[in-house]
């Protein structure tokens, strides 16, 4: 009897104690507990906000400690250094179709009845990584003294603008601020979740700002912007930078004031240190991930490395996940200065024929390991704006139809050399600018072969990416190749690649104001410019229409969306298997890395 009662008591204790612990007692990493014990750090209760953001891990509650090793081929930090992003709102765990944005720095927000003003309530008690309180003034500082100060080399994010104008930000008190828009704005939470940063530490950065310090110069400030923000010395992110050797290595350590906990009350992040190794070449990143020197990569390796990854997967300790991303886009210069090319590129049937002539399936089988889904220039299947039928418009391989369209447009082979001439008999050659790229360059080679089958002569022009980009921006190209920005959250991408929004003009249609290609283009412009001022339902319908118009008009040629593999070490817990990526760099980061943990140390064998 006594034993039974005892067992019952134990059971009750087991149920009750953890439940109450979850509500009140927070845990911290051993390395921080040591610092607290030594008196160099305040206790955890003083470091955490009153109500920390609770994160549900991907799979399980992790354990503290260890080091993440990352290889990057970027000499500047922004690409892979972007381990976490802390803005007012955030998308939930980034899997495709993740859903509505959720609170982050902001605990709540509400719109006024007419939709022109948003009031934001910040989470109370958040601290910077140096222990100073985070307040609405830090946001005001970043907004007015950094993004909107034209002497500082950080432009305001395009998605925050309404008709090219930024909203007015006003600080109400330490944790309350308002954004006032010139017209109703229905995209606040999404926009705030899509940008990279919203606050800089005013107490720290103002010493470098001429407005606050007479001795500071803008030149010096601009030299600091890449290193003193986000991952810099004072941050709101999960790790802060302790050492940086330019071009070689970045070392980060956990932010003792990080304001997120897991569902068991453990302060995040789980991992103590992050080492970012800067290597000279993306192939070195690929090999390093295979050998286990690095723990994961979503940036530098892709479908072109799949054979390499599969080769050693059985013997080595890694596995593969995948992300659906947009593929390569061929931008056609609708305002080329040569009248013959100008006429050809402006001819709708000609552009449609160029797209129809491409055997996307074959390119996908040869170069994308069969992971390419042929598609025209529509928004991503994981966005709410996708229509299967629109995606197939002028994107299904059809040599006969391409030939018929070209014949009807009067592009025929008059001199019998196997290539079509322009209507007045002049020879026609299309130069395609493409960067030296291990996926795009061979793709373009295959496109040019396909074009030759319908009598269109394409010429491959492979140059350095910076030069290709400069020529693109100057409008000095015929066809130029780069990423397509039509992913999950297209409004957060570089819209000037898709249409003309605000002050931006797409480089492939510089003369759209004087000589617009068609009314459809103007309609796309209008919708993209005002999409954020439409209520959700109206916005979805309008952007679905944009997607269809882009595909139907073939202003630029998309190969298709593809499943891009990414490599991850098996020693990490809580790594998602499928992630959403808008494009290379825009939209939200691939993982919430603060909830990833180390199962065993690098170089150790897994416990079997």
């Amino acid at each position: 009897m006594f034993r039974l009662v005892f067992a019952l008591l134990v059971c009750i204790a087991l149920v009750i104690v953890p439940a109450s612990a979850q509500e009140i007692e927070y845990q911290e990493a051993p390395m921080l507990a040591e610092m607290v014990g030594a008196g160099t750090l305040p206790p955890l209760e003083e470091r955490l906000p009153a109500s920390p953001l609770v994160i549900e891990p991907v799979e399980e509650i992790g354990t503290y400690g260890g080091t993440l090793n990352i290889g990057t081929a970027a000499i500047t930090p922004y690409l892979t250094e972007n381990l976490t992003r802390e803005t007012l709102t955030t998308f939930p765990m980034p899997v495709p179709g993740a859903g509505e944005p959720m609170p982050n720095l902001a605990e709540s927000w509400e719109s006024s009845d007419d939709g022109t003003q948003v009031t934001v309530h910040l989470r109370e008690g958040i601290k910077w990584s140096d222990g100073e309180p985070f307040t609405a003034e830090d946001i005001e500082f970043y907004w007015y003294d950094i993004m909107l100060d034209e002497n500082v080399a950080i432009p305001i994010d395009g998605i925050l603008l309404v008709n090219g104008e930024p909203p007015v930000l006003e600080v109400v008190d330490d944790t309350t601020l308002t954004f006032t828009y010139p017209s109703p704005y229905y995209y606040f939470a999404e926009a705030m979740a899509s940008i990279w940063e919203i606050a800089w530490p005013k107490h720290y950065m103002s010493q470098f700002h001429p407005t606050y310090n007479e001795d500071a110069t803008y030149e010096e400030l601009n030299n600091l912007v890449e290193w003193h923000t986000g991952r810099g010395a004072v941050t709101l992110q999960a790790w802060y930078m302790v050492e940086h050797v330019p071009g070689e290595v970045m070392r980060l350590t956990r932010n003792p004031y990080y304001w997120k906990v897991d569902t068991a009350g453990n302060q995040l992040p789980y991992v103590d240190q992050v080492v970012v190794d800067v290597v000279e070449d993306r192939q070195a990143v690929a090999v390093g991930n295979v050998t286990g020197d690095y723990d994961f990569d979503t940036m530098w390796t892709g479908v072109q490395h799949l054979p390499l990854f599969l080769e050693s997967m059985d013997e080595r300790d890694y596995s593969l996940g995948s992300a659906d991303i947009p593929g390569m886009l061929m931008y056609i210069n609708l305002d080329h200065s040569d009248p013959i090319k100008n006429a050809a590129f402006r001819n709708l049937d000609f552009r449609r024929a160029l797209s129809l002539a491409i055997n996307r399936q074959e390119i996908g089988d040869v170069l994308y390991s069969g992971l390419l889904t042929p598609s025209g220039t529509v928004f991503s299947p994981s966005s709410p704006y996708y229509e299967e039928e629109a995606a197939q418009l002028w994107a299904t391989y059809d040599v006969d139809q391409a030939n018929a369209l070209l014949d009807a447009a009067d592009y025929v082979d008059t001199d019998g050399d196997g290539f079509r001439e322009a209507p007045d008999g002049e020879p026609l050659e299309i130069v395609v600018n493409v960067a030296q790229h291990d996926l795009y360059t061979p793709s373009v080679e295959m496109v040019i072969e396909d074009w030759a089958d319908v009598g269109i002569k394409g010429v491959l022009n492979v140059r350095d990416q910076d030069l290709i980009n400069n020529l693109y921006l100057a409008g000095d190209f015929e066809v130029s190749v780069w990423d397509y920005y039509g992913g999950d959250v297209p409004l957060a991408g570089d819209l000037s690649r898709l249409a003309s929004t605000g002050p931006n003009t797409p480089a492939w249609h510089m003369q759209w104001q004087d000589l617009p290609i068609s009314d459809d283009f103007l309609e796309v412009n209008r919708i993209l410019n005002s999409a954020t001022t439409m209520p959700a339902e109206e916005r979805n319908a309008a952007l679905t229409q944009v997607s269809r118009l882009m595909a139907d008009n073939v202003w630029n040629i998309h190969l298709g969306f593809y499943r891009r593999p990414f490599i991850k070490s098996n020693r990490l817990g809580n790594m998602p298997n499928v992630i959403a990526r808008d494009s290379q760099v825009t939209a939200f980061p691939p993982f919430q890395l603060y909830q990833v943990f180390e199962r065993y140390a690098a170089g150790e064998a897994p416990a079997s």
Partner: protein, 330 residues
Amino acid sequence: MATFVVRRLASMLLTLFMISIVSFAAIQLPPGDVLTSWVTRQEVQSGAAMPRESLEALRAQYGLGEPLPLQYAKWVSGFPRGDFGLSLSYGGVSVDQLVGRRLGMTYFLVIATLIISWGLAIPFGIYAATHKNSFPDYLLSAVSFVGISIPNFLLAILYIFVAVFLLKGNTVGGLYSSQYIDAPWTWDKVVDFLRHLPVPLFILGLGGMAGTFRIMRANLLDILDQQYVETARAKGLAERVVIYKHAARIAINPLISRLGMQLPVLVSGTIILSIVLDLPTLGPLFYTALREQDMYLAGTILMILAVTLVVGNFIADLLLAWSDPRIRLG
């Protein structure tokens, strides 16, 4: 001799001055400037175009709108202070900091390669020439042809393939593991460094050895046919003395005069190898700087190469004068 040295020093300075002008101008020839790519990065990140005013402000701050001679004068006038300008492509880090970190390692590799390749090539060359058409001669010649004809970066790729995919090994790239980057030179770091060193040294050494070996062998063969060698033999000198004191000493002259050329070639010849093997030398910096039109960084490295060249030539001339009395002036 003193006038020779002074004259050479004066012409060196003039050469360097000319090189600095040409290199500074040449870097700026392509369209665009270093800001273009930097601004593009910021724009991709924010999804918005940078306002024209910001661009103008930035150009003014970095002096990019100023006339070329003025930009040049500003750059050169910083040299005595050790100020070589800022590198925008590396996020505004000062050039002397970037270059300084890698200069030592670059020269260490170059000089070690030189010592190894000469140390092997000269004895091998002498042996091959004196044992012409023997099996060792054919073997050495075959190896040196391989060394000359396979670019060093290709050897590096082969090495990675064999090490990682055939032997399932792990160590590739770098000169030390990442935890030792910027760490003080402890015993552990030295051991780690020595573990990383053989591969790049072997790859660099093989190419350098091959060329030097061919020259040494061909020269010595020429000289062994000459009459004074016959005379020496006829005098009854030991074959050892004939070869080493009379023939090899003359045959080595072209190698010494090649030394001056070889130093900068070794520096610039390691660019692709350094990219493949991830070596912290000046090579990848130079490549990035040229690609991004980062003129202060590229110009400074060009100047370093130029100084290496003229100083190398100067040393070669002195060595030559020392080794061959006939060349001394005056």
